[in-house]
Amino acid sequence: QQPVQSPQAVILREGEDAVINCSSSKALYSVHWYRQKHGEAPVFLMILLKGGEQMRHEKISASFNEKKQQSSLYLTASQLSYSGTYFCGTERDGTSYGKLTFGQGTILTVHP
């Protein structure tokens, strides 16, 4: 089952904060976050494991709420370079052999 991301799109001014959510109706083992700029490959940001700690990549952090089966990506003091489409990829269990099921993406646009 495909995870659901919200919102679908976010428009920010430089320095503003944003939160992107990734929710699943099924129990998850891990959530992976990637950012993709237009015409480029997805770039890894971080992995959240079930029972793991909140992760951080520069001024971007993420958490995983097991009760809600939801991961949230927090973008703090956004920079122009944060613009792109953010995808969460999920794994249901430890036997998925690298199969990530990606959400539909959240388009983030940061303006000066």
């Binding site: 490959a41 998925s96 052999y97």
Partner: protein, 116 residues
């Protein structure tokens, strides 16, 4: 920083033709993947490969598709008898371990396949 390289960057083919997409994963990685992204849509898993065998494949990966590691460096995706709906960006990825073990996927820049 080591990277995954894919060739060609753009492939145009006629419906019914066979295409081979090529990838050179990062040298110390053992796990390889193909994903695809239809224009404007989400990234979809096709297949994972380890130790010269397919480990997992999606329902998209039917008999029309095959993967191979013909030598120690290349990893290929063959699509037989291409269809219009095969038009997409195909991403190769590699990782040191399985993603479940906290091992991120490193994606190549993709091959844009256009079937006419």
């Amino acid at each position: 920083e080591p990277e995954v390289t894919q060739t060609p960057s753009h492939q145009v083919t006629q419906m019914g033709q066979e295409v081979i997409l090529r990838c050179v994963p990062i040298s110390n990685h053992l796990y390889f993947y193909w994903y695809r992204q239809i224009l404007g849509q989400k990234v979809e898993f096709l297949v994972s490969f380890y130790n010269n065998e397919i480990s997992e494949k999606s329902e998209i990966f039917d008999d029309q598709f095959s993967v191979e590691r013909p030598d120690g460096s290349n990893f290929t995706l063959k699509i037989r008898s291409t269809k219009l709906e095969d038009s997409a960006m195909y991403f190769c990825a590699s990782s040191e371990g399985w993603a479940v073990y906290n091992s991120p996927l490193h994606f190549g820049n993709g091959t844009r396949l256009t079937v006419t």
